[in-house]
Symmetry: C2
């Protein structure tokens, strides 16, 4: 399906403070060693290791103390160490030129103007080296990486204050169905609020993409066709929901096929709920048709829209948070369909985790989305799961105590 | 620790479109049945079930067709069904007054002006009832819930367009250390960019809280004290990082204790890295002292700041995404410390998942945060894990193919 998608996301340059969650569009390499300089890893005396190679408890080597450096000290006024000289240094302090190792204070006798060193130290002993974090030219952030706080900190450490990222994927959203009215409109029998439009809009935001909500489109071929053509010019992906009917009044496929060059990828899938989903490519851009019923809609967003957005940004997917839970009722699957069941996952008094499938009469029941905090996926070839089976559940909202006590055989 | 925290987060009212990820500050109940009306669940004829109770294949009951209703049809012009009448209805259409059941088209003979019904139907057969999703008065969203797309859709279905939420938690961030310079500043030996400030700032954003970055504070007691006092007036939590030294120049605790009413909760914890972390309460607000070294800093943010923010918002925590992985090198723990190890998690050619601990010389190595995509937590009482052990790893960034081939005994 995705081979025929032709979208180049524009690259924009942003302040790294505004880059959280964006996808990096360039490879950034360290422009210099990070850190830039050798630092002391301990509190002690910076020395030339050669000078103290014979030092011992019984025969201390005495060096002249010529100064003191702390973390942040400036090296500009510091002259190189000569034979027999030492600098007091504190953790994080830059190493003075000429010194190549640090003897910790506990192995020194500090006599004010001079120090007796009681142990030898190898070259670079107790020194954190320049370039220890990144050497000049090392890759700091790869192209395609989703920028997280640690990436932003690493860019900052390289003194990189702007980064090239892909602009967010734009998703146009429109909803058909003569039963729909806008939020805030006068509700009366026969009408329902276009809540699915808001479901999709906020789901798109959750994916770090940019929703372009176009609202309710009149349920006739010309209006749908016109709205799709217009939305293609301002978006990368178009999502259009059909009305609740899959009968005579479902005009969306007809409208899409009337647009020149439209390629139908599929219409109808072996996924429940959401089997009426479809996808077209028009002008190289994907157009998804999904159910206007909220539960079916959400499954389609997870199964089709999310991977599509990740495909466009080149982003890898994180594994989902899952727990193992004991099923409290049998779940039956129609073989040949991949099924998505909403369940309520909770901690029992016995310390076990239970998954209670939610009863629902249709895929339009928003309340199951609210009461459910987990999803069980049943693969095509599986007939179902039995009561008491321990199965893997994807967790979408936090787990709390069970309201019921379960006695599972 | 948290008993002495006294912060009331202001409650603000926002458009539900702007409420994604915010914490709901009110209980919202359905102001009416949702949906508002009985709908047909199929395409068929809406009838009075009593009229067709004797219908059969051999003795159809004939009804007069008095009209047709689709999803979205208006009931205002529709008169109640009389004896012996039927309406053609499509899925989602409102039930005409007087009708209490729907006979699907396949059990009807449509003769144009009248219809022969071949089967009886019980009252409310094939009808989705008003209030099926939420009954008037049902709780739609509880106080304390983090608003996700399905909550927003449910609010919309109730025609609720604004919702009360807690304003974001404000976290003031300041960084001490004379070695620090601002991003974009002239870097020279002895100095490092304040990358930890950006690490904290973007981590706070990731938690849906509001960072107030106050930048670098001069490393003297008076400056630190003044900055903390000022920041307390504009934030709910103050995070202050110490310099790289934990020796003579660590002036932060001294500065905090000079503020009247400051209560020290702890300073120094059995957690590695990050053992120098501390916490105070000043004027009822938490002040966290954490390491300026990035790896230690991030552990402290996860262990202290994240639960603190969730405590203030009343939000439950989601389980973390974890995988089981085979350890490629022994990990040793100092008993008595809870240790956090960054690891690189990858898929081997043998299909197994491996966790490779990252070598690091200190807790300041940003590159381990970039290269690592997982965290292994070793509890206080555990001495470590062996090569080849299968252990649970928290996943922060996606898993890709291993670069090495592992031969684990």
């Amino acid at each position: 399906m995705l081979n025929s998608v032709k979208i180049d996301l524009d690259i924009i340059e942003v302040d790294i403070r505004d880059s959280l969650g964006m996808i990096c569009a360039e490879e950034v390499r360290a422009p210099f060693d990070i850190p830039l300089f050798d630092r002391s890893a301990v509190d002690g005396f910076a020395v030339r290791s050669f000078d103290v190679s014979s030092a011992s408890q019984h025969n201390p080597v005495y060096l002249t103390i010529v100064g003191s450096l702390e973390a942040g000290s400036d090296l500009s006024g510091v002259r190189p160490l000569n034979d027999g000289e030492a600098y007091a240094v504190y953790t994080g302090a830059p190493m003075p030129p000429g010194a190549d190792a640090v003897v910790p204070f506990e192995y020194c006798i500090n006599e004010g103007s001079r120090v007796g060193v009681l142990r030898p130290v190898p070259p670079y002993g107790n020194v954190s080296r320049a370039g220890e974090d990144f050497r000049k030219g090392d890759v700091i952030v790869r192209r395609g990486v989703k920028l997280m706080p640690w990436h932003i900190a690493a860019l900052a450490s390289a003194n990189v204050s702007r980064v090239k990222v892909y602009r967010r994927v734009r998703v146009a959203i429109m909803n058909t169905g003569n039963e729909l009215i806008n939020l805030g409109g006068g509700l009366r029998p026969g009408k329902i609020i276009n809540s699915t439009g808001l479901l999709i809009e906020s789901y798109v935001k959750l994916l770090n993409a940019e929703p372009i909500p176009l609202g309710i489109i009149p349920d006739d071929v010309e209006s749908i066709r016109g709205a799709v053509v217009k939305s293609l010019s301002m978006s990368d992906i178009v999502v259009i929901t059909g009305g609740t009917s899959i009968g005579d009044t479902d005009l969306v496929p007809e409208a899409l096929e009337s647009i020149s060059g439209a390629i139908r990828l599929f219409h109808g899938v072996a996924i429940r709920p959401g089997r009426t989903a479809g996808a077209y490519i028009i002008g190289g851009k994907p157009v998804l048709i999904i159910s206007g019923l909220p539960v079916a809609c959400l499954v389609s967003l997870e199964v089709f829209l999310k991977p599509l957005i990740h495909f466009l940004t080149g982003e890898d997917e994180l594994p989902l948070a899952t727990v193992k839970a004991i099923l409290t009722r049998r779940l039956v699957n129609e073989v040949g369909f991949k099924s998505f069941y909403r369940v309520s996952v909770c901690y029992g008094d016995d310390g076990k985790i239970y998954a209670e499938p939610l009863r629902l009469t249709g895929s339009g029941i928003l309340s199951t989305l609210i009461r459910g905090n987990g999803i069980i996926v049943i693969p095509e070839e599986v007939e179902g799961f039995d009561v008491g089976e321990e199965i893997s559940v994807q967790i979408l909202n936090p787990i709390s105590k069970c309201n019921s006590v379960y006695h599972i055989p």
